[in-house]
Subunit: 220 residues, 2 copies
Amino acid sequence: MQDSEISPAERRRLRVRGAILDAAEKVFAEEGEAGLSIRRIADEIDYSPAAIYKYFSSKDDLVDELKESFFGRLLGAVHEIVDRREPFSVRARRCMTGYVRIAIEKPHHYVAAFSGVRPDAETSLDARAFEDTNKGRAFSVLTDMVSEGIEGGYFRSDLDPVNTAKSVWASIHGLTMMIAHLPDFPATASMPGGMNQAEFMEFHSDLIIRSIEKTSGEAA
Amino acid sequence: MQDSEISPAERRRLRVRGAILDAAEKVFAEEGEAGLSIRRIADEIDYSPAAIYKYFSSKDDLVDELKESFFGRLLGAVHEIVDRREPFSVRARRCMTGYVRIAIEKPHHYVAAFSGVRPDAETSLDARAFEDTNKGRAFSVLTDMVSEGIEGGYFRSDLDPVNTAKSVWASIHGLTMMIAHLPDFPATASMPGGMNQAEFMEFHSDLIIRSIEKTSGEAA
DNA sequence: TCAATTTGTGAACACCGTTCACTCTGACCT
DNA sequence: AGGTCAGAGTGAACGGTGTTCACAAATTGA
């Protein structure tokens, strides 16, 4: 064991690396991927632009790490909701509204996290890799939630959990993207007394749940 | 009337403008917004880069026109579906699946069309402007469809058409974005016999419709 | 025919991501 | 202690971007 397994110079390296990520995170949150430049980060931490390449092999690499860590926080938040000791019905709802709520706290992050369209698309994600992603893990949480609902008799028993989870995810994702892209999404000028964001999130979640929940007169 | 109201030099101008848009459209469809550059367009039409600025005030302007015209085509296609002489139930379904199907024929266009996040977000769309947009008109078509469903007794009568249309739009939009970003979206390696894209679109639409349709034992 | 408007251009500006030869510092080994 | 060597950090450069501007060429109108 000697002393701490990892030490003197290694720590400095991690500190600088962290500073780069912090600076990038700050700029990214405020101005999005467009406002983020290597030179800008370098200015922020008083280094030369070239220095950053000693810590990240490319800007894409750096940004990927930002996205992944964001999705990690999102995953953690959703997980926390799902694991609560509460009736399934409230957990299911909060799982959806929570996803949207947390995601849109950092709209640029969320949008960017889904913009990983590789031009070639050559077997872009082979599921093995996908499940090693925070995005993949978030999907797993959703699948588990749906499975629990089916097994618990809350959701229709003729539904396939995986496909259902995908559909639910798509619907939630859609609302999130809408709000992220159209900053005052649910608002409508031609309807002054309309819903606010929170109310609409509830409304949307209601509809989603209604689409998969067991109809009243059905056997378990 | 003399001759054609608009003529000799004006036509040449429109022709060049069109050529620029065509070249841009081609590159954009193939390589997305990333691969599109003013110099690239200029090369394609054998003009100097500066020449383009005699026809468009900025690259954003040019791209906006591309997006708007794409959404116009999408709108037209959806409209065509909605206006068909068919039972409401099939029109409603095809309206959704058609939206997704046509949108993902040009993934780059669709994604870009929703990426108009103005950094300041200062009253970005004041509804008056929104309804003058093809995006806005597409939303109107959806609202009308929902209204028709409610009035015809197909959908729950306690639903507000505007908010319901927004929710449906969000869900459809979500699936479209999923497919656009994750090229082989519905696929799952851990589930070999999974649905293909078309099947999943039907499945997703089924769930959406089920969430808003009248439950069996209910009065009109 | 002459003047005026418009179309097109080449060069430049300021930015971008990235690379490379280079210096310098700090750790390690004898 | 001195010498070596990996690594951090840098300035300059390359090729790319959107955009501007003064200027030349062409087309229009009178």
